[in-house]
Symmetry: C2
């Protein structure tokens, strides 16, 4: 992963500087208005003092910039879009933390926990507006207004698809039965839409033709789908030491992840266990994991992850990426899809 | 107001049809996803059945279309922007109702009360994305991508200013002292930004020159400021029969409205009354109203309302609006600013 790592080292400071440009407080801005956003981005503590903290991995802007370069474009052309997708990602996290009632993110107290729900909803809205402004603000020369309009349209459609996925995710929490098909449609929005958008915007900025754009879009979507299915697998069958969290949290929390939904569609025994209201003890969790393996849920999910992973690489190849960025994109896929193996 | 009323009769169905076009469910959309938005717009009941209900007055899109026509443009050119500003207005109401904990709006149960906070936050986000999509979706031919990009930038900046105002409004609720200057800065964002944006986008679509655009923008901003100051006056000194609500609700609710802030800056007696924790009884409210008059809060607010109202009409005149739409804009100002007199 030397090549990818070099790209990260080179591109991350550029991405971070662009994000800071877009989030530069206007003269009339009350201090707290931007501080909440800077806090969420990992730049300052809750008093507005600079901190070194674990920031997001900035996968989406890197994907956008690499796609642009691999599409034979000047990667600078994708910088406005790269900032925009990262801001959209962070806007959605701000609201997600409220919706999920999450007290922490990346080991830090969430914005709504510090400043209250009402202000956190508003901070997310401000971040949303700034994401759209990233494109006109960073594309200062406005050389190509048709490109900017097209990008803003894709950004809007990406956000709409993201909220559609979020809607389904919240809906499913309160539904008794959810099919695996419905689940895959949900993650297409919630997880895959923004990766699709990042790659597509990069391809557009890179001047790719229509066919290559579509392959990059499908490359991004399948990458998102593979990533999420793998995440569901690793939660249950991953090595806790490697994935950095306890085993089978999804089962403890009765989360309707893909292997569980596959099992619930096929096993009355599992349905009964999930119908009981008491929390699962460790013995029951082990029993459920064994049951899932027996039903074939592990195999099913692995096969699906492999399918999406294959599709990711197929569409990447068909997009005919060029130069070193092509190899870096390949490394990015492996970095994201082979986390524990 | 015959002319304005004719314009409303003619333009409202067009605005409504455009809004419905933008909010047309995509094929993959889960039914409830759009139903929440259609319910909020006043088109359906909570089961998705069509209803006749009190909708918003659609002041902003009408302002946008009239400005375009008065600027000698084809009003059709402003239709994408008109839909966008109304959708932005409604997105902000969806979130505002959660932030204010409001159970009803226009006599109907609010979205968050029916479907929960998490889904309502998401519904607002979806509406936000759709507001940005209104411009590329309704401006189908994309004759002028530079215009579309410029419009999207103004829309983004308008939203940012709107969230800045909302931030201040919520901040002030929890602050002991707020100056009248701070209050006016807050309503510049919360109330005036979107009226400014509506007029500016109309002027832009109408092909006005830079100078006229700036006058229309200031016309819209001052209209918003005058409207809000007047609203604060009417709450305390308006005739309940004419304004359709009880007198002095703002005082009962200890709202930091403009006359109250003016009084608190000048009267220790008022400060003491507001420092006590018990709810005001009717006698105390009458005492406070008398005190405000005595200090000159009523006169101050009236003078300010007149100032903003004069500025509104001055900028409108300087923008040199043309034709019947010019008269209709004048009527709109009088309709909004002379509600009880």
């Amino acid at each position: 992963m030397k090549l990818l790592s070099d790209y990260f080292d080179r591109l991350l400071p550029i991405v971070e500087a662009d994000l800071q440009t877009v989030l530069t407080p206007a003269d009339n801005a009350p201090p707290l208005f931007y501080r909440m956003l800077h806090y969420h981005m990992g730049w300052v503590d809750e008093n507005g003092q600079p901190v070194e903290t674990k920031r997001g991995k900035r996968i989406r802007p890197i994907l956008c910039l690499l796609t642009c370069e691999a599409g034979c474009g000047d990667p600078n052309a994708a910088r406005p879009a790269a900032a925009a997708v990262e801001l959209i990602h962070n806007f959605s996290l701000l609201h997600d933390d409220i919706q999920d009632n999450s007290p922490t993110r990346r080991g830090r107290t969430t914005v709504w926990k510090i400043w209250g729900e009402a202000q956190a909803i508003n901070a997310g809205d401000a971040q949303f507006a700034l994401a759209f402004l990233a494109i006109p603000y960073l594309q200062k020369e406005s050389k190509d207004p048709a490109l900017a309009t097209h990008m803003l349209k894709i950004l809007g459609e990406t956000c709409l698809e993201l909220t559609r996925g979020q809607h389904l995710d919240m809906l499913f929490e309160h539904r008794e039965t959810v099919t695996t098909g419905e689940y895959l449609d949900m993650i297409k929005g919630k997880t895959a839409a923004l990766l699709r958008g990042s790659a597509l915007l990069g391809a557009l900025a890179g001047g790719c033709n229509e066919e290559a754009q579509q392959h990059y879009a499908l490359f991004g979507r399948n990458l998102g789908l593979a990533f999420q299915v793998l995440d569901d697998i690793l939660d249950i069958w991953g090595d806790p030491a490697l994935i950095g969290k306890e085993a089978a949290i999804d089962i403890h929390q009765r989360k309707k992840s893909l292997p569980v939904l596959y099992g619930l569609e096929r096993s009355e025994e599992l349905q009964k266990l999930y119908a009981a209201e008491d929390p699962f003890d460790d013995g029951q969790v082990a029993e459920i994991v064994a049951l899932l393996e027996q039903i074939g849920a592990h195999d099913y999910a692995e096969k699906l992850a492999r399918h999406y992973s294959d599709e990711t690489l197929r569409h990447l190849a068909e997009a005919q990426p060029q130069g070193e960025a092509a190899w870096a994109l390949n490394e990015l896929v492996h970095f994201l899809l082979h986390r524990d193996r």
